[in-house]
Structures are given as structure tokens and as C-alpha cells.
Amino acid sequence: MRGILRVAYKLLVNDRAKFAALLVGITFAVFLMVQMTSLFAGILNRASATVINVGARMWVMDPAVQTVANSIPMPDYVLDAVRSVEGVNYAVPLYTGGALVRLADGAYQAVNVVGLDDSTLFGRPQLLEGNISDIFAENGFFVIKDSEFSKLENPKLGTVFELNDNRAVIVGIAQVASSGLFGVPTLYTTFYRALQYIPTTRYTVSYILVQPKSEADIPGIKKRVAALGYLALTDDEFMGQISGFYMFQTGLGVNLLLMTVMSFVVGLSISGQTFYTFVLENLEKFGALKAIGAKSHELIYMILFQAAFTALTGYGLGVGLCSLLLAVAKMRLPDYAAIITFPNLGMAFFMVLVIAGISSYVGVRKVLRIEPFDIFRG
């Protein structure tokens, strides 16, 4: 069988023009599909940045919350109620909100402020410069050194600026796993300082972060929190909810899905048509092989091998090209939100297999229908 496949390989790659056209089609399709889905994955990842960075196992929120950026404040007593729920190891409040920073040149810059529980600092970022206890110092804030850092004019330890007309001092420079979606710098401070600096509604707790005693306690906690009229989600569920919001309740998901489908169609069109032409041009040769004594299943293996080889090579090239482009883009554009994930790669691989399958199906039908008698008739 290896000999037959080697014949198929030589027929394919020695027809350089067609092979190149096939590879271009598949590579282009894979590139677009991976790029589109990576962009979407990057956006979803950034939309869940706070959830990822804080790292709590469970989040308690108002049931109407759809994304982490749009919290609906809860009354303080909910925190006490949650702390008393069976199975809760500990529960702390979290504040998230927006504020305006006045820079040295007088310009205003929007920032995202995260207020951590004063007693535990649960969810604190990893400090690069400064001391963690300095967050309790007067007017102390940590600034996150990410792609938005420069929008605050690259502050240093001791930099002073106005935040909602209050004096604020940078006492630490920190890093987090994921940057936010909306392109604004992030400051961390204590929960109560955040409430002092930022005008709030009557209720002040954006989220309650819960650490269950064990994973087995999670369903019970959810049930009891629901009885209080609130919603408790694990971090994965919360990120899933955020992803669902962007996918199904904004135009973003549908548009990217359409682009991905179009990439698939373009790839299928180019590759399918080229492969069909390739098979047609070699049809008489396949007929001759059939006359000489090749069995139908051997011819099918040849076609499938050619389609699979082209698809896998194109897939590798497409993924490589996309990775290269994303790496270059991230070097030049720090804000570029795109990450290649295994599900993305798996989906593109599946799509490529579909392209190869459809292309080879048409070829196989043609080859099976060719009668060796037609070869004699010329």
C-alpha cells in the first residue's frame, strides 16, 4: 500500500502548479479561520480579565449581571449572609468601577479601579515594584503595568495624580495575567478607599468572592445564594456567561462567525475546485491504473491520501502563518487581542478535514465512475 501512496504523493507534488494552488487555498482558509477565532478568543479572554486576574473560585452577584464590567451593586448584608452559608470557607467583597484620572498635562484618562477587601487583599495583583502593605498608605494605589500603562504617562513609584478630584499616589507597580477589553489602565486599591474616591450608589459591593470549603460544597452554596435572591457562579461559569453575552447578545459573535464561515467557504471553493480539476486531469490515468489491475479501494486511498496530505500541509502552513502574524502584530500593537487556543486549532482542523473530505468525495466519485473501457475508447 505504501507504494501506491507514494505514487499518489508523486502525482500530487510533482504537479507543482496545482499543488501550490491547493496549498494556497487551504493555507489561506486556515489562516483566516484561525485568525478570526483567535481574535474572538482574545476578546472573550479580555472581557473576562477581571475574573481571571482576581482568581476567586466563586462569584456572587446580582442575577441580572451579564458581564464583569457591568456589575450591579449589592447591599452589605448579602456579604454577611453569604459568609454564613454552609460550605463557605470565606467570602470577601470586591469593588469594580470606573474613574477619571487627571494627568500632569491636564488631560483626563479613564481608568478601571478594583477595590480589594481591606483585611485580606484577596485577588491582589503580583507586585513588580513597591511593597504590598503600602496599599494601606494614605492615597495609595497600585497601577497595573500592561499595554495600557503608558496611557497614564508611565507612572513611577511616588507619582501623584488626581483621581476624581482626590489625590492619589502610586505606591506599587504590578502585573496581571490578562489585560482588560476596553483599553483603559487599571488601578488597584482597598475596598473602602475605592468607595471614598468613586461616587457610589446606595449599595456598594460589586461582587462577593467566595472560597468554598470543597468543590462538593459548590452546588449547595449556589442553591443557598439563590434562595437569598442572588446568583453564585464558579469562575468558569462566570467566564462562560460573559462569553455567551458577547457571542449571542452582541453582533460580535455573529460577525466573527460569518467571517469564519466565509473563510471556510473560500478555502473550500479554491481547494475543492483545484482538487476537482486535478482529479479530472488525472482521470484517464486513474482509469489506466484500474485497467492494469488497481482495485477501487486502492484508488480511493490514493485520492484520500492526496486530499489529506494537502489538507494537513496547508493546515500546518496556515497555523504557522497565523502564529507568525499574531506574534508580529503583538510586538507592534500591544493592545492586539488575539490568542490561539487549542479549541481554535481543533475547530480549524475539523474545518480543514471537512474541506478535504468534500474535495476528495467529489474526486472519489469521479474515479469510481471511470470505466477502464473508456480508456480503450480514448
Binding site: 507504494g3 507514494r6 491504473l289 485497467a291 492494469i292 489491475g293 477501487s296 473501457f373
Partner: protein, 234 residues
């Protein structure tokens, strides 16, 4: 009498049904023997190519039987018939049907590769047959770089490299000039024909009739006559 290589009896083949039915071959019976070159001649549309396909296991007859060396080939399942063709019948097509993307040697090795022989061994074996047809020095060229006569010889090398008992040649001289055509058939007679091989040639080229042991004349799908061919050595 020599052993019977091909025995056809009551062979009929028609295409279409009802009023559209066209009879291509009608009730043909004949025997071909090992050690002979049998020509099938006739005007265009006389059914000679159809007959060739029927006796070589390529086109299933509507009626009749074909035995090759005692085996009823149309009683074989499809895969077994393909294997039978691979092992016992060699084909030289009118248009050669060589693979332009393979080298000449690889083209010749195709039947051996289909027999699941090792690639390198098959190509090495193919070189021996290219030597027989005088084209060993062209082994690494693609067939498109060869002349028509050379391509025909490559096709012959491909057909004989698996040691077939029946060699089927369809219009082997149609694309060749007179001298080249004669040389090709003369070559086959001298180098391929033996008492364990039967060669069936479809042609309407009178210039090569001298190489035939017997000549079957077809007309309107009917076998009209079987005559002795031109001068040949016994």
C-alpha cells in the same frame, strides 16, 4: 495444437435498452493460443475495441463467457478480477497513458507497485525492462521528454514487466510513423512473444499485418472471418 490462451464463446455486448439499444458485439466465439499474435481488425465502429475489453476483463459482456488459460474471468468477483488482470494480462493503450509526473522507470514499475512490491525493488526491476526496450538511459526522464515511439516502448515495458500471459495492445501503431510502428511490433514479436504468451492486437494498420499469426475481421459487431496472417516463423 498450441494451448488455448483465450476462449471466447457466445460473446455479446450491447449498450442502452429498447429502441436505443446498440449492439457492439454479437455472438462472437473464437480461440487464441499461446505463442501467437492475433490481430483484431475492422473498420471504425465494428466492435473490435469492445471485443478487446470483453476478453481482457475490463467490460462485462451481456452474454457469453471468456476463459483465460481455463479461468472463467467473468465468474470472478471484482477484486479477484482486478488481481487477475494485474497478474496475467498486460495492457498497451493507444495513447500510452503514462504518468507525466513520474519518471520513465517509475511508470514501468507501476504494475509491480500495484502488486505491493517494494518501491526500490520495483524500480530496479523496471530498469531491466527498460533495458530490454532500449531505454535504460532514459529511466529518470519524465515520459513527456520522450518521442512517441519511445513512449510506446515504455508502455510496452510497463505491460510486460509483470510477466503477463496475455498482452493486449490497442492500436499500438496509430500514433507512430510507418517505420516506427513496424519496429515496435517487430520488437514485440522478437522480445515478448513466446510459447507462454499470447498477444492480441487491435489495429487497422495494414502496414504491420505481416507480424500477425492470425487475423480476425470484425464488421458490425460480428466476427466475419479468421484468416492466417502474413509470413511468420513457426
Amino acid at each position: 495444437m498450441a494451448n488455448v490462451a483465450i476462449k471466447a464463446s457466445g460473446l455479446s455486448k450491447w449498450f442502452g435498452e429498447g429502441e436505443a439499444r446498440t449492439v457492439a458485439v454479437k455472438d462472437v466465439a473464437f480461440e487464441a493460443y499461446f505463442g501467437e499474435i492475433l490481430y483484431i481488425v475492422g473498420p471504425s465502429g465494428s466492435g473490435k475495441t469492445t471485443l478487446l475489453s470483453l476478453i481482457s476483463g475490463i467490460l462485462r459482456p451481456n452474454q457469453g463467457h471468456v476463459e483465460i488459460d481455463g479461468t472463467d474471468i467473468w465468474g470472478l468477483p471484482n477484486d479477484a478480477l482486478a488481481t487477475f488482470r494485474l497478474n496475467r494480462i498486460g495492457f498497451v493503450f493507444q495513447d500510452y497513458h503514462l504518468f507525466p509526473r513520474l519518471t520513465t522507470a517509475e511508470n514501468v514499475a507501476i504494475p509491480l507497485i500495484l502488486k505491493r512490491r517494494n518501491w526500490d525493488e520495483s524500480v530496479a526491476e523496471a530498469l531491466k525492462y527498460l533495458e530490454i526496450v532500449g531505454l535504460k538511459d532514459r529511466a529518470n526522464l519524465p515520459p513527456v521528454k520522450l518521442s512517441g515511439g519511445e513512449q510506446q516502448r515504455v508502455a510496452i515495458a510497463r505491460a510486460i514487466c509483470s510477466g503477463p500471459e496475455i498482452l493486449i495492445m490497442d492500436e499500438p501503431t496509430a500514433s507512430l510513423d510507418g517505420d516506427t510502428g513496424r519496429n515496435i511490433v517487430s520488437f514485440v514479436q522478437k522480445n515478448v512473444l513466446n510459447d507462454k504468451c499470447c498477444i492480441v492486437i487491435v489495429t487497422h494498420d495494414d502496414r504491420i499485418s505481416e507480424f500477425a499469426n492470425r487475423i480476425m475481421k470484425m464488421e458490425d459487431g460480428v466476427l466475419k472471418s479468421i484468416d492466417n496472417g502474413g509470413p511468420h516463423e513457426e
